[in-house]
């Protein structure tokens, strides 16, 4: 994502919490594990646009959208939604409509 200077410092990321979640999900039977929508960092999409898309499509608050956007930017990707495979496919398709780079995967996939 292109960087714009007037952004606040990122909150200390919850990347560790995320890892714990996926570790516990790894022990779940495959059929019970939820699917995830992942958005990946790219050098083209503007940070303000990514945040706008998260608010507009998922209905997230400004704060939550900004947190997720910064996680994408700093960690290279972020899980932006979890649920059934069909739902995540719809989200990924919507992200592609907006021009964001997004994939779906099952939680706990190595």
């Amino acid at each position: 994502m292109s960087t714009y200077p007037n952004l606040e410092a990122p909150p200390l990321s919850s990347a560790e919490t995320h890892q714990q979640v996926s570790l516990s999900q790894q022990s779940m039977p495959e059929s019970e594990r939820p699917w995830q929508t992942v958005v990946w960092d790219d050098p083209v999409n503007l940070m303000s646009y990514v945040s706008f898309v998260f608010q507009r499509h998922f209905g997230y608050t400004l704060q939550h959208a900004e947190d997720l956007m910064l996680r994408v930017h700093h960690d290279g990707h972020a899980i932006v939604a979890e649920g059934s495979r069909e739902k995540m496919e719809m989200h990924v398709e919507a992200m592609h409509d907006y021009g964001l780079w997004s994939t779906l995967r099952q939680a706990g996939t190595p």
Binding site: S2, P43, V44, S48, E93, T103
Partner: protein
């Protein structure tokens, strides 16, 4: 270019110089032909059916611009291929609809003639300082009112144009943005790319105000 916001009606108005409008039209027309040349078969004339059209290729497009516009939905190749074969055509058709809407709104603004829009109390001028792209700042100014749907078509299409240009400029990482242009043509493409980014920023900030 100027962007204002009419809060009462909740829409955003673009005040765009005619030479800037020409540039946008040229780029959008190129984007539409990129999509149309790629997509197989005529889209359904009904816009809703076209947007739900099933079908698609079995692997990612070879053209790097199209590959960015139509990325894989799964990291696994087999799953990505299966998904693309049912979803891709609908996505392409929806992208064409957004681009066509941008062209239609610009076309209507040209017919309306001069910028009849004067700032008043209900108006917030959000971007009076966006640099003009063209050299002829005395050219006619068109006013393009954008409702929610129009606004979305514009920001999505501006983004699509930047994704396509980034592929042509081989911008793969943030470091590539620092690279010196190879020649005048690349420098010009970079200038357009940066202008489109500023334009998108301004539209998004107008929408927040």
């Amino acid at each position: 270019m100027r962007i204002s916001r009419i809060n009462a009606e909740g829409f955003t108005v673009l005040h765009i110089h005619e030479d800037e409008a020409d540039l946008v039209e040229t780029l959008v027309a190129q984007l539409v032909s990129l999509y149309r040349d790629y997509s197989t078969g005529e889209p359904d004339p009904d816009p809703l059916l076209a947007s739900l059209d099933l079908g698609g290729a079995s692997s990612a497009p070879a053209d790097p611009a199209l590959a960015r516009l139509l990325p894989d939905a799964y990291e696994d190749d087999t799953l990505a291929s299966e998904f693309r074969q049912t979803s891709e055509r609908g996505i392409v058709n929806r992208k064409i609809q957004d681009a066509d809407n941008v062209l239609a709104l610009l076309g209507a603004a040209r017919l309306d003639g001069i910028d009849q829009f004067l700032p008043d109390e209900e108006t917030t001028l959000t971007h009076d300082d966006l640099p003009a792209f063209g050299s002829d700042t005395d050219s006619r100014v068109l006013s393009v009112p954008l409702d929610e749907h129009g606004f979305l078509s514009w920001v999505k299409t501006l983004t699509a144009m930047r994704l396509a240009l980034a592929a042509r400029l081989a911008i793969d990482t943030e470091n590539d943005l620092e690279r010196e242009p190879l020649d005048d043509m690349e420098a010009n493409t970079r200038a357009v790319y940066d202008w489109l980014a500023e334009f998108t920023e301004a539209l998004l900030s107008a929408q927040r105000s």
